[in-house]
């Protein structure tokens, strides 16, 4: 059994939902990303304390016709890619600091 992975949105980003997609811009290099509907669900749920597997199980597998293994594999690839660009933080431990979205109170 693999250890749980935790994801949190970086604060060094700008982000806004645009329909079902999300625009994300890195504050460090102004690189712009768009996250599709499913990636946006993971992004919004990346609070630093909910394991990625739980996010995928609760928010993806309940909404889409996909197995946990397949969805988790895709989600791992996604968060790894976003972490490489510094817009998502990835850890084997819960992240004490969690990112903020515009829906949260600072």
């Amino acid at each position: 059994m693999t250890r749980p992975r935790y994801v949190a949105r970086s604060t060094a980003i700008a982000a806004r939902a645009l329909g079902e997609e999300t625009m994300v811009m890195s504050a460090t290099n102004s690189m712009l990303f768009t996250l599709d509907e499913i990636a946006s669900v993971i992004w919004e749920s990346a609070d630093g304390v909910t394991p990625l597997e739980q996010i995928v199980a609760d928010k993806i597998c309940t909404q889409y016709d996909v197995t946990l293994d397949v969805a988790l594999q895709d989600a791992e690839a996604l968060v790894k890619g976003l972490a490489e660009h510094g817009i998502l933080l990835l850890s084997d431990e819960p992240l004490a600091f969690s990112g903020r979205s515009h829906k949260e109170t600072p």
Binding site: A15, R16, L18, M25, A27, F33, R100
Partner: protein, 388 residues
């Protein structure tokens, strides 16, 4: 605009989302630039609480790009509280400042808050020219120092160079300065009328010959052959297109909460102190009217042989009296680029119609009769001081 950004803008347009807002936090300023279009007196700026609430509303409405400008933004004691709130709402924040009040501590905070870019106005690389324009001795040195500090903190800095009669020969120097600082260089060749409609400052615009020279400079224009290519008229299928983003995916909010389609388009469209931002954006009759205008609705410009290549600004056209009409300043720019006068320009010249700006207005500025001088026009002493 990158492909992805353009794609997102197109999506925002389709969804009716105000993707981009310029919010002026104050009109107060520590400089008194000769070409400034603002009244610097405080007529009741929004409070910190009001601005924070507005930011919440704008985030909810989908605003992504937020430009905080003024006046001088650092004249507000609550500036960093506002900026912090904006970043907590994950806006992509751009700042416009003269940098005069920016020191190490401010530069560090701006960096820590993840601001996308900071634009600093630099009119010349020569203090005697820049400081005469800002009417603030030492301002060039302070603006450059601010740019250096911000660059040292790794921030994206843009040096904005507004071209006018006073500094027409200095853009090379500002561009070289930007390169030395590792900053981006941005030139704006248009002086716009004051927000209250006073057009006297248009006399500071450079003349057609100077504009032509600038437009033919590769350092500024890039591909000159392309930039100055012969004009083209609209194709039939272009006529359903929209003139610009003002009121469509962008708008402007003044320090008093007034909403306009753009900072350069002073059509009062509502006030956030009385109406929710989203309701103004969605329901304002003024914004609806602006949105209803397609290129085909513009009687002069839709038929103009320069239509497709012209940079017509609907806001400038509005300030000339008709948002569906031509913007004379853009007709002149198109002439300077292409060497061919459009029909509107030819007609104006043939009719010897008084132009919105011209030598007579210029004389009025530089040798004003005391009783006719506009209250907030530049005084001749300040301008003359360093420029001769």
């Amino acid at each position: 605009m990158s492909g992805l950004a353009a794609e997102m803008t197109a999506k925002a347009l389709k969804m009716g989302i105000p993707l981009s807002v310029q919010l002026d936090l104050t009109y107060r300023c520590n400089e008194r630039c000769v070409h400034c279009y603002l009244d610097h007196h405080d007529h009741g700026e929004m409070t910190t609480t009001e601005i924070k609430d507005l930011l919440d509303q704008m985030a909810e409405a989908g605003v992504f790009y937020l430009t905080l400008s003024g006046g001088e933004i650092l004249m507000r004691r609550d500036f960093f509280e506002i900026l912090e709130h904006a970043r907590a709402r994950t806006f992509c924040v751009k700042l416009k400042t003269n940098g005069v009040l920016l020191r190490e501590a401010e530069a560090e905070r701006v960096r820590a808050l993840g601001v996308e870019s900071v634009q600093i106005s630099v009119y010349s690389h020569r203090p005697e020219v820049h400081d005469a324009i800002t009417k603030m001795p030492g301002s060039l040195r302070q603006s450059i120092e601010a740019a250096r500090l911000l660059r040292r903190h790794g921030l994206h800095v843009v040096l904005s160079n507004v071209l006018m009669v006073h500094n027409v020969r200095d853009y090379h120097g500002v561009k070289a300065l930007a390169a030395e600082l590792g900053a981006q260089f941005l030139m704006d060749p248009t002086i716009t009328p004051m927000m209250d409609g006073d057009r006297s400052i248009l006399a500071l615009n450079v003349d057609e010959a100077a504009l032509r020279e600038v437009f033919r400079n590769e350092e500024v224009a890039g591909n000159v052959e392309e930039f100055c290519a012969p004009p083209r008229s609209f194709d039939e299928e272009d006529l359903d297109m929209l003139p610009c983003s003002a009121g469509h995916t962008a708008c402007y909010v003044s320090p008093y909460g007034d909403v306009y389609p753009c900072v350069q388009f002073p059509l009062p469209s509502g006030n956030v102190r009385r109406t929710k931002f989203a309701d103004i954006w969605r329901d304002s009759p003024q914004l609806k009217e602006v949105r209803s205008i397609t290129l085909g609705d513009m009687p002069t410009c839709s038929r103009c042989t320069h239509g497709k290549t012209c940079t017509r600004c609907p806001g400038l056209a509005f300030m000339e009296g008709n948002m569906r009409g031509p913007s004379h300043q853009d007709c002149e720019k198109s002439y300077a680029r292409t060497g061919i006068a459009c029909e509107n320009l030819q007609a104006k010249k043939a009719a010897r119609q008084p132009l919105p700006s011209g030598p007579l207005v210029q004389i009025q500025i530089w040798q004003p009769a005391p009783c006719t001088m506009p209250a907030n026009a530049p005084d001749s002493h300040g301008v003359d001081a360093g420029l001769r």
